[in-house]
């Protein structure tokens, strides 16, 4: 296993290097398959690691080299392979491979074909480094690498101003999180003097439980997690990230990036167990974000934006789960979510292509005839995310809601919020489905929509299979060595809560069916009746506008002030003033340089007499007192 783990990293690295250095010379076919194949190879290697773990191999913490050492600060390059990171790399490479393969078709016509695959491989590489790293420093390197490659990919179509702006926004938001991460690492090192996980986990109990230090560390880590996972209040970059190509959205939302925050909290669960306040904060952030994003999702009309808000909402579920200590449930939901969200995005990509890059769901409709595979797979994804019984999303979401509802105190109310969110999820997903895929145009369809080629439909079908069966994987048992054995809930409790969540989901579905399929005029009536509330939700609670007023504009104003006033009148004035002063003085002193030896001698003599006088005065030989 100690050779397999670095190979998992080297495969995408090789793909990245080949495509980045020689991509322009290579034929397109080779570029695409190098890009996808390197990730596929990573998946096979990850499967080998999984098999070794299942057949009883011990988790690995192997140091390959010491990166640098200074005093008692030493940073090894060590990889940490346990069930948690194995689950992560399996999803990253598995779903990542399908997305790469899909991209071969989707990006087929694009100018920057090799650039695209180079960036994608870099993205996967950074994410794998993030999850496999065995110490905080390399985690942060991977963390920053994910931020960088997401910036590159969101701004992939850099000739569009909106893409550049969105990329910059994502980068700035992520950097806020990076700063939090780095400060957390500083604090950890100051208090524990170590950087690698094994040592951190064994020494964390030296800190006072729930004390200032551990709480501060966990909250700073949370800042990083919130920024990367697009939770409140650093979420605004995620919907804008839709400016990137659709496979990028799928990669960011499903397999990588946004789940990094969940992974971080789960990986650091010993720290969060030691800081209950911070853990409760994680839960509140997650629960509120889940609800908040779901409400926004109900009023959007851009297919990718709806999916983006649904991602925020689902990641909120995962945060809620890891915040209340149900780590295995959170990671379980991460895995099922990877399947159905990648499926939804890739299927949406097929739809967008069919409509020539129009993303407004109101312009779509009746896709069953034209795009049968996409239609049925999207339906499976929608059912899965809505928690339709026996599909993947049903199991994982139910576990989170059950864990939250069975907790005491305020966490119970977060569970109720999560339950309401489940209903909202069913509503907005079926609203999307009915409007975009509905069949009311069936009789007069002359649009000649075409289904995507097999390279784009096969990955979607595979993901759809995953979205159905992923719920049966015994993830909680697999992760038991890390998080402890799952709490066995009574059969009646499980059944009762399942029934409850199904009822809620059915209510959401019923609402969507009534308003957007059965009687659309009712939806219009409701919209006017809700009035300002609807406008508020449609404009995403005006958070972007708020940040614009509070941070961006004052920032610009300050920059303008510094540029126009401080720069010219203070800094330049000081620099030029010093220069002018010496120029003027130099002109005056120049006069004493006559070139005449005798005048110099006179000056010298005068100086000497002056020195003698001063010394004499100090020694008290003169009737003057100095000093």
């Amino acid at each position: 296993m100690d050779t397999l783990a670095p190979l998992v990293l080297l495969a995408p690295l090789a793909g990245f290097l080949v495509n980045a250095l020689f991509g322009r010379q290579l034929p397109r076919r080779v570029v695409g398959w190098v890009g996808a194949g390197s990730i596929g190879l990573g998946f096979i290697l990850s499967l080998a690691i999984l098999i070794q773990l299942l057949t009883g191999a011990k988790p690995l913490d192997q140091t390959y080299f010491i990166w640098w050492q200074s005093g008692d600060f030493n940073v090894p390059f060590n990889l940490y392979v346990d069930p948690l990171s194995t689950l992560m790399i399996l999803v990253i490479t598995g779903v990542g491979f399908l997305i790469h393969a899909y991209s071969i078709g989707y990006m087929g016509e694009d100018q920057g074909y090799s650039r695209f695959f180079a960036y994608m491989n870099l993205f996967v590489l950074s994410m794998l480094l993030l999850v496999l790293s065995g110490n905080l420093v390399w985690l942060i390197i991977g963390w920053a690498g994910v931020g960088l490659s997401s910036y590159l990919l969101i701004g992939f179509w850099f000739e569009r101003t909106s893409a550049v702006v969105a990329a910059r926004k994502a980068f700035v938001m992520n950097t806020i999180g990076d700063v939090g991460m780095i400060f957390a690492a500083f604090l950890l090192f100051l208090n524990l003097r170590v950087m690698d996980y094994t040592a951190i986990f064994s020494r964390v109990h030296q800190l006072p439980k729930g004390g200032m230090v551990i709480t501060a560390i966990c909250l700073l880590l949370l800042v990083g997690a919130v920024a990367k996972s697009a939770q409140l209040p650093l979420h605004t970059w995620l919907p804008d990230a839709m400016e990137g190509p659709t496979p990028v959205s799928a990669l960011i939302h499903a397999a990588t990036m946004v789940t990094a925050g969940v992974y971080l909290v789960a990986r650091m669960h010993l720290l969060y167990d030691w800081a209950p306040t911070a853990a409760a904060t994680v839960a509140v952030v997650g629960g509120v974000t889940a609800f908040f994003a779901a409400t926004i999702g109900t009023a959007q009309v851009d297919i990718k934006r709806i999916l983006a808000y649904s991602t925020m909402s689902q990641i909120g579920y995962m945060f809620l789960a890891v915040g209340i200590g149900a780590y295995a449930a959170g990671m379980f939901h991460f895995m099922t979510h990877a399947f159905f969200k990648a499926l939804l995005f890739l299927a949406a990509g097929n739809v967008i292509h069919a409509f020539h890059d129009d993303q407004d769901i109101r312009h779509m409709g009746n896709l069953r005839a034209g795009l049968p595979i996409t239609f049925w797979t999207f339906l499976i994804g929608t059912l899965s995310i809505s928690g339709f019984p026996l599909l993947a999303g049903f199991f994982s979401k139910d576990e989170i809601i059950r864990a939250a509802l069975s907790a005491a105190g305020s966490e119970f109310w977060l569970g109720v919020l999560a339950l309401i969110t489940a209903g909202l999820t069913a509503y907005y997903m079926f609203r999307l489905f009915f409007i975009a895929f509905g069949w009311e145009w069936l009789s007069r369809d002359d649009r000649h929509l075409h289904e995507a080629p097999p390279i784009q439909t096969v990955p979607v079908v595979i993901l759809a299979t995953g979205a159905v069966v992923a719920g049966y994987f015994p993830v909680a048992n697999f992760l038991a060595p890390i998080f402890g054995n799952p709490v066995e809930a009574g059969f009646t409790v499980v059944l009762g809560l399942a029934a409850l969540s199904v009822v809620v989901a059915l209510a959401g579905f019923g609402m969507a069916y009534l308003l957007h399929a059965r009687r659309p005029e009712l939806a219009v009536a409701w919209r006017t009746r809700l009035g300002p509330l609807h406008t508020l939700v449609e404009h995403k609670y005006y958070i972007d506008e708020l940040y614009d007023r509070v941070f961006v504009r004052p920032g610009f104003a300050l920059a303008r002030f510094l540029n126009d006033r401080i720069e010219s009148r203070v800094i330049d004035a000081a620099v030029n003033g010093v220069a002018d002063f010496f120029l003027v003085e130099a002109k005056e002193f120049r006069l004493i340089q006559t070139g005449r030896v005798r005048s110099y001698a006179l000056w010298t003599l005068g100086g000497a007499i002056g020195v003698v006088l001063v010394v004499a005065a100090f020694l008290g030989y003169l009737p003057v007192r100095l000093g």
Partner: protein, 101 residues
């Protein structure tokens, strides 16, 4: 009867003052040089006198050092003066202000 040390210092001061004034008022480079020698030797005299007064050889050592430096300086100085004379310049230190620029 030993001569008191201050008489030597007075003589040294008088010689130095003469040298300094001569340096400032005369324009002939050779005379200027002689004035410099006068000042150096005034200092030497003071060194030697105080050395004797303090019963220490330090001052004498310095005097020898000054004599050596003075000899070297004269060699260089006279060489420069000869070169200036050969170049057809006037023998007036006030006219030699090439170092101004």
């Amino acid at each position: 009867m030993p001569v008191p040390a201050y008489t030597f210092l007075l003589l040294s001061g008088a010689l130095f003052t003469m040298g300094a004034i001569g340096f400032l008022v005369r324009r002939n480079p050779l005379v200027v040089f002689m004035c410099i020698e006068l000042m150096l030797n005034a200092v030497n005299l003071a060194f030697a006198a105080i050395s004797r007064y303090l019963n220490s050889l330090d001052g004498v050592v310095f005097a020898f050092l000054v004599i050596t430096v003075a000899a070297a300086e004269v060699v260089v100085g006279i060489a420069i003066i000869v070169q200036v004379y050969r170049a057809g310049r006037q023998m007036d230190v006030d006219g030699l202000d090439l170092m101004k620029e």
